[in-house]
Amino acid sequence: MAKRNYSTKPPSRGCGALFFGVFLAFGAFFALMIIGDFYPKAQSHFWTKTPATIYESAVGENGGKKGFEVIMHYGYEWNGQHYEGRKVRLGKDTFDASESQQVVNRFPSGAATNCYVNPERPTEAVLMQSSLKEWFILLIPGIFMLVGAVGIYVTLTWKAEKDRPISARKKSGVWGIRIFFLIFFLVGAGIAYPLFINPWLKSQTAKDWPRVPCTILSSSVERHSGSKGGSTYSILIRYRYEIGGREYFGDRYNFSVGNSSARDWRNEAVQQNPAGKETICLVNPEDPTDSVLSVEVGSAIWFGLIPGFFALIGLWGLIHSLCSKSNKKADLSGIPKPQTERFAALESGGPVVLTPTYTPEKVFLGLLMFGLVWNGIIFAIIYNAGKKLGGGWIVLGVFALIGIGIMVGVVHQFLAMFNPVPTVTASSGAIALGETLKLDWRFTGDIKRMKHLRIHLLGYEKATYRRGTDTVTDTSYFINVVILDVTDSAVMSSGESNVKIPASYMHSFDAPSNKVVWFIKLHGDVPKWPDVSLEFPLTVLPRKPNYSAV
C-alpha cells in the first residue's frame, strides 16, 4: 500500500529567505567590487576626444615580468596649450605579446590620431578607452542577485502543496529534466571548450601556418603557489620574429591554457628553448601578431576530456528527453493516445504480431554506432598526441577501457543476432482485464541450440522521482505468471498457450512519472552463447462494460 501523505512540508520561511539573502548579498558584494574596479577605467568614456600626434611607439620588455610594455609618447593641444602623454589606457599598463603588437600597429610613430583628455585635468589623457565588453562580467554576480531576489520572493510567497488545489498544481513534466541536462551540457561544454576543444582546434589549424625564423629572448618556468600549499607551473617565454621587414614579439609556447602541476614537460620545453636560441615559430598568415612556438598540446589538455564527457551526457539526456515518449500528452484517462487507439483493435479482435522493445539487431546497431564514435575519438587523440600525453594517459586509459567494454558488448550483441528468432502473436493488440490472452509463438533458426525456454506474463509499477539532483526510478513487480517453462526443443519450436489477465488487477497506466506496465518476457537459454531474451509490451485495458469480476 502506498504511503498516502503529501510530501510538501515547507522549509522554514525565515531560513529560506536567509539562504537566498546570502545569495543576494554575495552577488551585490561582488557586483560592487567589479563596479569599483571597472568604473575608474571607464571614466575615459566621459573624456573629450582630441586630435593627437604619435611621437614614439614601440614594444618593450616589462623588466623581466610577465607581459609586455608599450612605449608610447604622443602630443595634443588643449585650449591652445600643448600637452604630452604616455598613457595608452586607464588601468593595467601591460599587454600580452599579441595585444602590445596590435597597439603599436594601431598607433605607429608619426601617425595623426585622437586621444581622450580629462577636461578637469588636461594633463591626463589616454589613447584607448576601456572595452565596455568587460562589463559583461557583471552577469555572474547578476545571476547570483537574481537567484537571491527570486528565491526570497518565492520563499516569502510560497504556499504549501496541501494549501493549494491539486487541480491547480503544475504537472510533473520533462522541463525540469531538460533544464538539468541543458545546464549539464552547457557547463561541460563551457569548461571543455577552453581546456580542450579550442586549444586542440587551434593546434590543428596552426600546423599549416608558415614557419618563420625567430629568436628566443627569455624563457623560464614560472611557479605559482596554491592556496593549499601545492604549486602549479606555467611557461614564461618571449621571442622575436620578423614579417615583411617588421619586428614582432610572441609569448606563446603552445595553445594549452592555464597552469598545472605538470612541471617536467615545461622544464623540457624551456631547456630546448634557451634565451638567444635561433629557432622557428609558426605565424598566423592572417594576423602576423598571432604566433606560437609549438603546436604540440600539453598533457594537461587531456583533462579537458572529463568535462567534455559530461557535456556528452548532458547532450544525450537533452536529446533523450526531447524525444521521450512521456512528451506525448496523455489523454484524460492517463493512457497515452496510441494505447487508446488500440481500443479499436480490441473491438475488432484479430491476432497481432507483438513487437519486442529491443531486438538484438537494434541493440547491436546502437552499441556499434556509439562504440565507433567513442573509440574513434579516443583513437584520434592517441594517434595525434602520441608520446606527448604525459599524465593524460590516466584519463585516456579510463576512457579507452570504457571503449573496450562497449566493443565487447557489440560482439555479444552480434553473436545474439544469430540466435533462433521467435515470432510471438497475440490474439489481440490489447486485452482487457478479465479476458484470456491467446499467445502463439514460432521460432525460426536452429532451435536445437536452445536448451530451456521460458515465457512469462509480467507486470510492475514504475515510479520516477527526484532525489537531490538525481532522477530515480523504482519498480515493484505485482504479477508473474509462468506461461511456458520447457526444455524439450520440439515443444519449444512452436506452440500456443492461453493466459487469463486477472480482472482484479490494474490496467496499463502511463503518466509522466508513474506507470503500470504489463509485458510478455521470453527467455531462451543458449549454452556458451548469448541467450535469447526479448520483452514484448502488452496493453491491458480496463474491464469491458458489463464484465463482472469474480
Binding site: M1, A2, K3, R4, N5, Y6, R164, P165, I166, S167, A168, R169, K171, S172, A330, L332, S333, G334, I335, T357, Y358, R454, H456, L458, Y460, E461, K462, A463, T464, Y465, R466, D474, T475, S476, Y477, F478, I479, N480, S504, Y505, M506, H507, F509, A511, P512, S513, N514, V516, V517, K521, H523, D531, S533, E535, L541, P542, R543, P545, Y547, A549
Partner: protein, 131 residues
C-alpha cells in the same frame, strides 16, 4: 466558509456513472471565479502526476451562493493502490485565484472498491530490462 457535497454522500463510482453534487460558499465579496473540477492524481514514491478530466465553472458567482453540478465518470484510470503508487480521484471546488478550495476524494472502479495491487518477488529471469 466553503462547502462541497456529493449526493447521498456517495464516494464510490463506476465508470460511466454520474456524479451529482452541490457547492456552497459564503464570502465577504463575490469570488472572481468559482469552479468544480473532476480530477485524478497519484500519490506515493513517484513525483505526483495529475490530470483534471472535467470542470464546471459557475457563472456570476455571488458572495453567498449555492450551485449544483454533475460529471460523468470516465472509463479510466481506476482508483488503485500499490506498493509504490496510489491513484486517487477527487472533486474539487475552487474559489477566486485558487486561494480557497474544498476537496472530496472518491473511488472510481467497476466494482466500487479501490484496486489493490499486490507485490511479488522480482522474477528470476535473466536479462530483465527492468530492475
Amino acid at each position: 466558509m466553503i462547502r462541497l457535497g456529493l449526493q447521498d454522500h456517495r464516494t464510490n463510482f463506476r465508470p460511466g456513472e454520474t456524479i451529482e453534487g452541490a457547492a456552497l460558499w459564503e464570502c465577504p465579496k463575490a469570488p472572481k471565479r468559482a469552479e468544480v473540477r473532476l480530477l485524478w492524481f497519484t500519490q506515493g514514491k513517484g513525483t505526483t502526476d495529475t490530470e483534471t478530466v472535467a470542470r464546471e465553472e459557475f457563472s456570476n458567482p455571488l458572495p453567498g451562493d449555492t450551485r449544483t453540478f454533475t460529471f460523468t465518470v470516465p472509463e479510466a484510470p481506476y482508483s488503485f493502490s500499490g506498493r509504490l503508487i496510489a491513484l486517487i480521484w477527487a472533486v474539487e471546488l475552487v474559489l477566486e485565484d485558487e486561494d480557497e478550495f474544498q476537496r472530496i476524494s472518491i473511488t472510481v472502479t467497476p466494482d466500487g472498491q479501490e484496486v489493490s495491487i499486490p507485490s511479488v518477488e522480482k522474477p528470476d529471469l535473466p536479462g530483465l530490462a527492468t530492475r
